[in-house]
Amino acid sequence: MAAPALALFGVFAVVPLLGVLVLSFMSWDGLGDPVWTGADNWGRTLSDPVTLNAMRLTAIVTVASWLFQAPVSLLLGVFMAGRQRYRAVLSVLYFLPLLFSAAAAAIAYRALLDPNFGLGAALGIPLLAQDWIGNPDLALWVVLFVIGWCFVPFHSLLYQGGVRQIPASLYEAALLDGAGRVQQFFHITLPQLKYTIITSSTLMIVGSLTYFDLIFVLTGGGPGNATRILPLDMYLAGFRSYDMGRASVIAVILVVVGLGVSLALNRFSGASRMESQMEGV
């Protein structure tokens, strides 16, 4: 009975995963037959300034998007967990970005950020009416903001669920001890959310390695190479320059880093996390 699942997963997931390692040692233009070239791709890719820059940008995006999304999601999650009626209404509205595909959000933001006919022009604020996407110094920050717009709703949902599971008795006890709101937050809410924080952070960090569609549609990696993070570098190398060997090297790096980060954070959080998180779904 497990055969169909194993066959499909094997052929279309495991074989490609091994294939990407093999292809990273081959030269292939996407049309003919791949030819074995040994470590040539690796040497070429790892000394390519474009790829090195992509690594730097990926690191920046990973750290900066975590620094932006994690506190905002946490704060919103705590806020959404409140039982007040207006917060329930707000929670419904917060959910709306999740209805957008990455492509849809990126296209909407391209229009919204237009310096002449977009939001900035409408509000008459010159500071907002910049060429956000065309300016290499700004484009990366725009990308980070739009990523946040798309993904904060998801993570705040995780935090909302986490906060609602904190036993009320903890807060009652703290109240009796005279702890204020801020103290309650730092001494009860935050420690109790430990596993949610780890789960959410893992998803954010591993997700940073896979942001493709959003950036592809929003900036295409540009202007120049200003937003060309590793997944884009991989796509552009493979399907624009038809250098599949180089694309495969980048893919192997992505897999190794992705697996490494998830395993490290998983160990950090305890192996039983998945099981215990499933309770109560």
Partner: protein
């Protein structure tokens, strides 16, 4: 499941949460302004886009932009997306439920090992395997067909689906399976009339999660299809942007139309959609 019973009622708060409240209202603006902008712009006549302020309500609201999008084969792309999503989700559910059943019921070591393989599969970034998937699809002669999207989508959805269904199926009391066997039911019958009904909430969660993933998927269609006949919705948005470029209201009307089906699903089954989105990670 069991933890649901332990849900607790929060005590009423004493002082208002100023920081949380402020963040909440600011974030509301961040969410609402772009959505408002998308809607009003999609209702604006193309000519007025350049003359009216972009946040004002259109002086002459019109559905022309929507008409133009629909006249440009939108329904074909929509149909493609529906086909790919429905076929993928049905197959994902069938094969994952069968595999989970084996993981839970089989006492063989191989079943446990298979589960381990699936667990590892969750951490694979799909994007990273696109080059070999492309090679494979060409070799199979499936390039530029909808099956080129369906087969890899199914494969990459299996790990998380099996994980969720297995965790759920483990909570079914062993006695129920035993009594089915005593009654002479075979494995298939047990799967169909015991496992499936009892895991329905998890099946819905898995279905919703995967439907969203497949529906919104962009990279597979971008790389594995080419012609307009096999174009799916997210890719069509990108293509519209290239074709219409100056007709921003039409581009944004296409965005709105692409969101509507999911909005409808959200209105009909909000709980299921939320649990589906946070599948395996929530709570």
């Amino acid at each position: 499941m069991s933890a649901r019973a332990a849900r607790v009622v929060r005590t009423p708060r004493t002082t208002p949460n100023v920081i949380g409240g402020l963040a909440g209202w600011i974030w509301l603006l961040v969410i609402i302004v772009p959505i408002y902008y998308i809607i009003v712009t999609s209702l604006r006549p193309e000519a007025d886009y350049y003359s009216e302020s972009s946040l004002s309500w259109p002086s002459r609201p019109t559905l022309d932009a929507y008409g133009e999008v629909i006249a440009n084969d939108f329904l074909l792309y929509f149909g493609n997306s529906v086909f790919v999503t429905v076929v993928s989700v049905v197959v994902i559910l069938a094969v994952s439920l069968m595999a989970s059943y084996v993981v839970v019921r089989s006492r063989r070591r191989s079943a446990a090992r298979m589960f381990q393989v699936f667990l590892l599969g969750i951490a694979i970034p799909i994007q990273a395997t696109i080059v070999p998937v492309y090679y494979l699809i060409i070799q199979l002669g499936l390039y530029d067909t909808l099956w080129a999207l369906i087969l890899p989508s199914i494969a990459f959805a299996i790990p998380l689906s099996v994980l969720i269904l297995t965790n759920f199926l483990r909570d079914v009391p062993v006695e129920l399976f035993e009594s089915m066997r005593v009654d002479g039911a075979g494995e298939w019958r047990t799967l169909w009339s015991l496992a499936l009904p009892l895991t329905r909430p998890a099946v819905v969660t898995v279905a919703v999660y995967n439907a969203l993933q497949v529906w919104n998927g962009f990279l597979f269609p971008l790389v594995l299809t080419q012609s307009a006949e096999t174009r799916v919705l997210p890719l069509s948005l990108w293509a519209f942007q290239g074709e219409f470029s100056v007709n921003v209201p039409a581009v944004l009307a296409a965005v709105v139309l692409s969101v509507l089906p999911i909005l409808a699903a959200y209105v009909i089954g909000r709980r299921q959609l939320v649990s589906g989105l946070t599948a395996g990670f929530g709570k």
